[in-house]
């Protein structure tokens, strides 16, 4: 027997995920245009791997295949894995990353909606610990032709030092730690563009555009992107103001690395993130803070992935303590 309500908004997990995929397209377009067209090949590899892994796990778990495969959540995970991995990774590394995300993080915890950790971020952390040098090979903007890229991804040949350069975050970090130099001096290097990494700035803009689309469509709320961006700007701004020669500006931090991708697509993962309005602010600001500390003082050039996982752990605590007051209990106007 069916109970009320008998009508439903035409909303589905599939449409939510599809909207996220559409929102990723500007960033991907910028990626193809500015960095490496081979990312499209990676996306295909990752998508196929994700769907196969999802199907296999569903089969093993004795769950119906069709609803879970068609909800597109595995595809979103796959794309996010690709977009936070270096584009010139050999194909098997992409496959491995996707398998970690889908098999270990998603299905071993119970499938869609059950994972306490962000799948793409666990994949990134696992891979950068297991393959630190592979995961640090980022191509400089627009210097590799497509054939070279394809050789790197699909072939076995890797003469890496010749073709990869330091990312903007990496250059700043190693440059400053080497001493005898300042941020301004470093920014004149070829890795840097107007605000962040040369070429990578455009990706940041692409992700920003996609993020605004998600906000307009009501898939995400303003809380997390705002708290993340403002949080990162405030903490980096504080250090920058005290010592502009030794710390990069907030604008640089926001335009570099995965900041924009994280602000709109990673931090905002509903499953593993905080869910209350105040909780979302705390969660996203916490990620920004930890990510900055790792960037500025840690062992890795980019700290967002670790920051996300650390804050994932805190989600139950955050949600429990940020329950909004319910109707009639917030001391509303009486008379």
């Amino acid at each position: 027997m069916i109970h009320s309500p008998y009508i439903r908004k035409p909303a589905s997990v599939q449409s939510v995920m599809l909207t996220v995929l559409i929102a990723l397209i500007p960033g991907i377009a910028a990626y193809v245009w500015q960095i490496a067209a081979v990312v499209l090949v990676n996306l295909v590899i990752a998508t196929v791997t994700a769907l196969l892994a999802e199907a296999a796990m569903l089969k093993v778990r004795g769950r119906p295949l069709a609803p879970a495969l068609s909800d597109l959540s595995a595809v979103v995970t796959a794309w996010l894995v690709v977009l936070c991995f270096p584009p010139i990774l050999p194909w098997w590394a992409t496959v491995l990353g996707v398998l970690i995300a889908i098999v270990a993080v998603k299905h071993l915890y119970g499938g869609l909606g059950q994972n306490p950790f962000n799948p793409a971020m666990v994949a990134y952390c696992a891979m950068i610990i297991a393959f630190p040098s592979l995961m640090s090979q980022w191509p400089p903007a627009g210097q590799l032709d497509l054939q070279t890229q394809l050789d790197l991804v699909l072939g076995g040949v890797r003469e890496l030092d010749a073709i990869t350069g330091a990312t903007a975050l990496d250059a700043i970090r190693t440059g400053l730690r080497a001493g005898n130099t300042s941020v301004d001096a470093l920014l004149t290097q070829s890795a840097f563009g107007q605000f962040g990494g040369r070429g990578w700035e455009w990706l940041a803009l692409g992700y920003l555009a996609g993020g605004i689309y998600l906000l307009v469509r009501g898939i995400i709320t303003w809380h997390m992107p705002t708290a993340f961006i403002v949080g990162l700007a405030v903490i980096s701004g504080a250090f920058w103001l005290t010592n502009p020669a030794q710390f990069a500006s907030p604008l640089f931090h926001l335009a570099s690395g995965g900041a924009m991708l994280a602000a709109f697509f990673i931090v905002t993962d509903p499953v593993s993130g905080a869910a209350t309005p105040h909780g979302k602010l705390i969660f996203a600001a916490g990620i920004a803070l930890i990510a900055y500390l790792i960037r500025a003082f840690g062992a890795f050039p980019e700290g967002i992935a670790f920051a996300v996982l650390l804050m994932n752990i805190c989600v139950p605590l955050i949600d429990m303590n940020t329950q909004p007051p319910v109707f009639g209990h917030r001391g509303g106007k009486a008379r």
Binding site: P5, I7, A68, T221, P270, F327
Partner: protein
């Protein structure tokens, strides 16, 4: 003029489907062959039956006397013969049965003598009693007795009249306001005077411009204590608490009453019924019901209370592919299990549902914690948390997360991209909690009974022992008298204490001996620890016995 409107958080905007039934005037439904009038017409109260089978009744005649503080009278909706008094299913999700009076109409629809009430020249209590005897209850659905809601006539500043009608498909209040605006306003004025309010705010969703116009036209002559206020169309703006919030900014917490905040709310249908009762002397015998959905002739019908739904549906003509019927709106209505159920005072709409209009829910997917439900919830709850806890049967947590603030409006389930029937989970959790509380109460009572039984048995044993001892002492005294002294001069026992005690001590000693003689079973080969424990217990017992 009120300065501004307030808003409540959340809410949804389903397709309204009002035009299907709102275009045509109200039609008087013909007399059905049988009326089944439930004696339970107001919330939590069943009236005492006043008629017998075979008795002839007139239209408006008392057939049920309201009992208890929430009781209201029940009347015959038309003239005819009482043919049966029995339990019949009523319109309730559970299909519960309720005692009902079955009347076969004689077709004459002949009124009993009735007269209007000059309510300004009688005491307030007399006016409230009159409303109670007229069977006036809230017609928005809950069926709360109006005379109870009118309270003690003080402390209410604002009277809210609810013409929001926020559920899709339903248009009975819309048509009522369009066609009988003056009656609604007259009833509102009576209610205002009885409750002692300073002003009346009539909230109407702005998707009913004709009703707003008609009500404004009628209000122009009434004076400035009464205001027609269009409110934004946003389900559930017609929820009592939500409408009060929109019109006055006051938020009434769960468990609190509007009266605590100086505001009270009545439905437009209730106001009109009050007008008919006071100014025409007519008890509440009929109401307007929207017939819509998958039917040939959607519209609004003035229906006698007790009319079975199947007789009513014939007027609208459900189409062939109709597969079920919803009483009420699509957001909160109930799926009718039987079409024999009668129209009651809270029946506002019957929707014929077809798979095309109301597709069966797609398969449920896991919750992705997207929070759409929390953003839609007008009670500011976290529905997905309540869902997790209900699913896990963690009912303590559901209460911590304010389960009972949920008004079951259905907004959360409406927006859920995983199509989880969220409200079903809350209903389940609520009923489990109620059941547990009942069980707890029952077990408390059982424990009390058991403890009292033990106490009583103990007491009886003591009394018996005392009696026996007394008797034994008497006998012994008699025997002693017989041997030593003469039977005639038996001295009264000096004290019956000592021999009694002696007797008891002797009996106990015998019992102890017996006990010691019996070899305890299964107690060989005891470990020293156990033996020590037993010895200790025995020692304690000895002490007690001594």
């Amino acid at each position: 003029m009120i300065a501004r409107l307030f808003n409540f958080r959340g809410g949804v905007k389903p397709v309204s489907h009002k035009n299907e039934s709102s275009a045509t005037p109200i039609v008087k439904a013909p007399l059905p062959p049988r009326l089944v009038i439930p004696l339970r017409q107001s919330i939590r109260s069943t009236a005492r039956c006043l008629v017998q089978p075979g008795q002839r009744v007139l239209k408006g005649e008392h057939i049920g006397e309201g009992e208890g503080p929430l009781g209201t009278s029940v009347h015959a909706s038309t003239s005819g013969t009482v043919v049966e008094i029995a339990s019949f299913p009523m319109a309730h999700a559970s299909g519960l049965e309720t005692p009902s009076v079955v009347i076969e109409p004689d077709g004459e629809d002949r009124w009993i003598d009735h007269a209007p009430l000059d309510y300004r020249n009688v005491s307030r209590n007399a006016a409230l009693a009159y409303l109670r005897n007229s069977g006036i209850v809230g017609m928005g659905g809950a069926g709360f007795p109006t005379h109870v809601k009118l309270g003690n006539g003080s402390g209410i500043d604002t009277l809210v009249i609810n013409g929001a009608e926020c559920e899709p498909w339903i248009t009975c209040d819309d048509r009522l306001m369009r066609e009988r605006a003056a009656e609604v306003l007259s009833g509102a004025t009576i209610l205002r005077e009885l409750i002692g309010a300073r002003r009346v705010l009539i909230g109407i969703e702005d998707n009913k411009p004709e009703a707003i116009t008609a009500m404004r036209a009628a209000a122009s002559g009434v004076g400035d204590t009464l205001e027609i206020v269009p409110v934004p169309t946003l389900y559930p703006a017609g929820g009592e608490k939500q409408l009060i919030r929109v019109l006055t900014g006051i938020e009434i917490a769960q468990g609190k009453l509007g009266a605590d905040f100086g505001v009270q709310c009545f439905n437009v249908g209730t106001a009109q019924a009050v007008h008919r009762a006071i100014h025409h002397g007519e008890p509440l015998l009929s109401r307007i019901v929207t017939l819509t959905g998958n039917v040939a002739h959607p519209g609004n019908y003035e229906v006698l209370l007790g009319t079975p739904v199947d007789a009513l549906l014939k007027l609208a003509g459900p189409k062939a592919d109709t597969d079920r019927y919803i009483m009420g709106g699509p957001m909160m209505g109930i799926d009718l299990q039987s079409l024999k159920v009668p129209v009651v005072k809270g029946t506002n709409c019957v929707i014929s549902a077809s798979p095309a209009l109301f597709p069966p829910p797609p398969p449920e997917l896991p919750c992705i914690r997207c929070g759409a439900c929390a953003r839609a919830c007008p009670a500011d709850l976290q529905p997905f948390e309540l869902y997790w806890f209900s699913r896990a049967k963690n009912f303590g947590k559901t209460q911590e997360y304010h389960l009972f603030d949920c008004i079951e409006c259905g907004c959360c389930a409406f927006v859920c991209p995983s199509r989880i029937p969220l409200v079903d989970y809350y209903r389940f959790a609520k009923s489990e909690i109620w059941a547990r509380e009942r069980d707890l109460k029952a077990s408390d009572q059982a424990r009390d009974r058991f403890e009292f039984r033990n106490f009583r048995q103990e007491r009886e044993k003591e009394e018996k022992a005392a009696k026996l001892a007394a008797k034994a002492a008497e006998t012994r005294a008699k025997l002693a008298d017989g041997t030593s002294a003469g039977a005639a001069e038996a001295p009264p026992p000096v004290s019956d204490e000592d021999p009694k005690k002696a007797l008891i001590a002797a009996a106990l000693a015998r019992a102890k001996q017996q006990k010691a003689a019996v070899t305890p079973q299964n107690t060989e080969d005891l470990s020293p620890e156990t033996q020590a424990e037993i010895d200790e217990i025995e020692a304690r017992r000895e002490k007690l016995n001594d």
